[in-house]
């Protein structure tokens, strides 16, 4: 059976199962475990074929599915039918429904979150007074995450305290723009040129990186070919696709 791989991002095995149930139009209250298991395995295979790492959580749930399947094949012992015995299928359905609830409600919560993000307040006045009152040379208890929390606050304040009258933004160079720049320069460059030549017009790390990403794309599209010599210098020539 063919399997279309969707490059959707799943939040975990339960999310994936809900997706498969929906896709296969299975009845969640009368779940066809065989179809679900088969689809689930197919999906994991597809992920592997794409060399995507299958996280261990997906394998744990796979084990649950397969355990169910194997148990179905074996004659069930009488003592398993006691009161507190829950059919693994019922348990899975219960978990799927429970997860679905929170997944659904999280969308509603997100709307409030986004709305609140647009409503700003100003930092506390009097900060100096408060700071002085608490400035003692004592050891501070806390783990690195506390530090991270404090740093977040500092950054937020810093952002708010920036002067209003200066309004210009640094537009970061995109790889696409950089490709156009490099293409424009190509005709003035010698037959063979080095990476150093290409980054002559760059003055910060960001632009170096963007240049590098740009040439990767250009090499992929056969605009450039490259070789790396013994002393790790990168050399370029115009590629077959160069017009």
């Amino acid at each position: 059976m063919g399997f279309e791989v969707e490059t959707l991002k799943f939040e975990g095995p339960l999310d994936l199962m809900l997706h498969l149930i929906h896709e296969q139009q299975l009845d969640i209250f009368d779940l066809d475990m065989a179809v679900l298991t088969e689809q689930y395995i197919d999906y994991l295979h597809a992920m592997e074929e794409l060399h995507l790492e299958v996280e261990s959580e997906y394998l744990v749930e796979l084990a649950t599915l397969i355990e169910y399947k194997s148990k179905k094949l074996l004659p069930r012992k009488e003592d398993e039918l006691e009161d507190d015995y829950e059919d693994p299928k019922d348990k899975l359905v219960r978990r799927l429904l429970e997860y679905q609830k929170y997944k659904e409600v999280s969308h509603t919560l997100y709307d409030s979150f986004i709305e609140r993000q647009d409503q700003l307040s100003k930092p506390v006045s009097f900060d100096e007074v408060i700071k002085h009152a608490h400035s003692e040379d004592s050891r501070i208890e806390g783990d690195p995450y506390d530090l991270l929390k404090a740093m977040n606050k500092v950054l937020r304040r810093l952002q708010l305290s920036r002067p209003l009258d200066i309004k210009f933004t640094q537009k970061e160079l995109s790889p696409e723009d950089r490709i156009l720049q490099i293409k424009a320069r190509l005709k003035d460059l010698p037959e063979t040129f080095s990476f150093e030549t290409l980054i002559e017009d760059c003055d910060n790390l960001h632009e170096y990186v963007i240049t590098f990403i740009a040439i990767l794309d250009m090499a992929k599209d056969h605009y450039l070919t490259f070789t790396i010599d013994d002393s790790d210098n990168i050399w370029f020539r115009r590629g077959s696709n160069h017009d």
Partner: protein, 219 residues
Amino acid sequence: MIRAYETGREMTPGEKENWEKIKDIVKKVEVLHKENVAQPTNMEAIVEGLLYIVGEDGARVEQLAMAIDKSIEDTKTILENIQQKYAAETFGIELVGYGSVYKFITKKAVFPYAQELFGTSKPNTLSQAALETLAIIAYKQPITRVEIEELRGVSAEVMLRKLQARNLIREAGRSEAVGRPILYEVTEEFMDSFKLYTLNELPDLPEYSKEEENDNLFE
């Protein structure tokens, strides 16, 4: 002389002249005073000023009540009055009390203009994984890591750390279960971020029943 005026005794012509001068000065002072700022005469205005000072940190009813030496009930009434006043369309800010912490925030309609002013884009965002984890904690708190993982089917350790670092959740003691695992609950910061005065305001969780058509589940 004032005493003379008050007692109703007939003023001498000299006193009368002085009295007129004084009345003149008082009038001028009054005008000057009005041209500057009239000082607040009621507690509503004082609380409004306090809320301006505390800014994003906000203040609890109890803190404000203590500062203005009024009862909690009176302070609540004052806050409600301010809230009503600022709800009018003539104000660009509003008073909110998410998680019982009162603070002034700008109204929604201001934001597009703020973007123009600052030239910024939206700041924080939350991943779907973070949202789901927060939702589970908010509805089921206090809750242990293992319970969250059971519900979502994925490891929650890193996510819990991240949410703690963002001050959206905190530890709330330990469970009586084996190993006494840490319990988690949401913070005032969470309440603020999701516009909730109390957790009772959380939307109802959807209920699914067999009678419904399966398709309704996914819309």
